[in-house]
Symmetry: C2
Subunit: 360 residues, 2 copies
Amino acid sequence: MSSLTLPRADGFRMPAEFEPHAGCWLLFPFRPDVWRQNAYPAQHAFAEIVRAIARFEPVTVGVTREQYLTAAKLLPPDVRLVEISYDDIWARDCGPTFVVNDHGQIRGINWQFNAWGELYAPYDLDDLVARKVLAIERTPRYDAPFIMEGGAIHVDGEGTLITTKECLLNPNRNPHLSQAQIDALLKDYLNVQKVIWLEDGVYRDETSGHVDNLCCFVRPGLVLLTWADEDDPQHAISQRAYDLLSSSTDARGRTLEVHKIHQPGPLYFTAEELDETAESDQLNIDFSAGDRLPVSYVNFYIANGGVIVPTYNDPRDAQALATVSALFPTRKVVSVYAREIALGGGSIHCITQQQPKGSY
Amino acid sequence: MSSLTLPRADGFRMPAEFEPHAGCWLLFPFRPDVWRQNAYPAQHAFAEIVRAIARFEPVTVGVTREQYLTAAKLLPPDVRLVEISYDDIWARDCGPTFVVNDHGQIRGINWQFNAWGELYAPYDLDDLVARKVLAIERTPRYDAPFIMEGGAIHVDGEGTLITTKECLLNPNRNPHLSQAQIDALLKDYLNVQKVIWLEDGVYRDETSGHVDNLCCFVRPGLVLLTWADEDDPQHAISQRAYDLLSSSTDARGRTLEVHKIHQPGPLYFTAEELDETAESDQLNIDFSAGDRLPVSYVNFYIANGGVIVPTYNDPRDAQALATVSALFPTRKVVSVYAREIALGGGSIHCITQQQPKGSY
C-alpha cells in the first residue's frame, strides 16, 4: 500500500458506468426521520430496485445490525448482505469510487464526506462507508484530501468528466479550494484530462446540484440531459447546460451530442407524506407540503446488460422509458416505481455504486 | 445454493487446522463486563495476537461500529477490518466452521449457538456471526440444526474427530439429542468417519469442557494433551483422557500417540482483576477472587508456517514452548502473553477461526 501515490500517477482511472461491473453496492433504508412510515415503503421500493439490478449483476447490500434480519427477509437470497453502519443510504455519495488500470487491477477512492454541506449531522458513519466497503473487498485505498461525492461527477471512461459549479464550488464543500485546484484534484484522482463545469444541477436539489440528477453519459460523446417546459424553473438550468454541453468537446476532441429527456411531474411532497416522517433534530433541512421533489429520469443505474430507470406513475414515464431504450439498444431497460426513494432526496443512481470488474 | 444437502453427501470435509489456510478471523474485545479496565488490556493483548498471526497469514478482524476506529488505530494496517456486531469475541465458537472438497471449493457451516448453555444473554448477535462471515466471503452456507461450537471439536482432517461428553452431551446444549444422534450429525456435517468421545474438558472450564482447551491434533495420529500433577484436580481428567486416547484408533486405523504438555499455574483470578471488571446482568456466571482460571497451553493457534502459543509469565512457559517447538519442527513458534484473554474464559484458539484455502 505504501506504493500508492495518486491514481493518475499510478496508472488508474475511473471507468464509465457503462463499462463492465463486478457488481453493485447499496445500503438498506431505515431512518424514520427521512423515510416515512418507519421506512417500510422505502424498504419495499428498495427491495424492488435490488431485485431489478440483481437480474444483471451481483448485488451487495450493506445493512445495520438492527436491520439485518429485516433486510434478509425482504431481499432475494442471492443478494450478499454485509453488516455496515451508516447514517443514510446514499451509496453513490458515501461509497468509494473505484478506479482500474490496464492490467485489470482495481483500487478505491475514499472521498471526504460532509453530508452535502452538513444537511444532516452526525455523518461520521457515512464517512467510514467507503473505507469499510474497500476493506471487505481487500481493495487498496486512496484517501482523497477533499470533500466529494460520487453523485457530483460523471465520467465517460475516456478522459472526460462532467460536474457542476453549484456543487463542487459550493462553499459548503471545500471553501479553501479554488476551481482550478478542484479541477486538478479531479484529474489526479480520476485520471481524466478534461473537466466540463456546468453551472447548476436540478432545481431545488438538496445535494447542491449533483450532476447525476441532471445529465449523464450514455456513451463517450453522447450525453442525456433532463429537460423541462419553458414555464418551469428547471428549463433555464437545463437550457444553459444544453448550450454548454453541445458547444463542448470531450477529452478526445469529439463535440458532445446532447439528447433531452423530459422530467416527470413536477412532483411535490404531500402533507400526508411529511406527516408520516418522524421529527428529528439531526436534519438541517425542512420540507413543507407542496415543496418540489427534485426528480429526473436520468438518475438511472446502468448495470451489465441493463438499465434500471426510476418511474413515478407519471404521464412522462412511457416516453422516458422509450428514450432510454432507444439510447441503450443493447441493454434491457427495467423500470422501478421510485417515488419512495425520491422522498428521501434522490433516486436509483444516488443509492447505487458500481464496482467495476478487476482484481486487487 | 439449492443444491446444498449435507457436507458429507456433497463431498465436503472439515480440514485439520494444520492444513493450508486462506487466513484467520478474529473479533475485537470490548465488553466491560467481561474484559477488565473497559477492555483496554485485553485489546492490547489481542492486538499482539493479531500481529503474531499476521506474520504467517492474512488476518480479518471483525469489529463493532463503536470500536471501529479504536481497532483501526491499534491493529496493524495490513489487517482487514470489517464491521460485524457480536456479543463477545469467541470466533472459534460463534464463527463458521469451513469445509472443503477435493476440487478446492469451500463452504461454511453455521452452527446454532446458545452461548455455551446460556452463560450470557442475549446472544443473538453472536448467533449471526457465522452467517455474516460467510456472506462477506461469498461462501455457500450450511445451516446446521443443532447447537455446536468450533471449540467443542478437533479433527485430524483424515476422518477423525475428538470431542467431550461433558460438552456435546450436556443438557445445556441439545437435550433432545442422544449421543448416537450427535455422533451422526458430526459425521454428516464434518465428514468424519470416527468420533472419539472423551469424558471431560479442563477443570472448571466454563464452556462445559471444550476439547480445544484439553487436547489437539499435532498431525494425524498424534495428540497433544494438557497435563497436571497428581494433587491437582486436572490430573484425573487428563489421565482419563490419556487412557482413552492412547487406547483409541483413528479413522485410518492408527493407534493414537499422545504427548503431554504440563499446564501452567494453577492460575487464579485476583480480587483486583474482578474489581476492575464491570457488573452486568447479562452474565449467568459469577467469579470470585481465588477462582481457578481454566488455562492450558494446548489452546494455541496453528497458522501457515507458525504456531501462536499462549504464555502466562509462568515457570512452565519455557517447557511448554520447547514441547510445541519440538512437535512442530517445520513451523515457527511465537508466544504471546495471554492472561488478559484467559480472564475472559479462553485463550488464543478460542478467539481464532481459520479459513482454509479454497474458492467458492
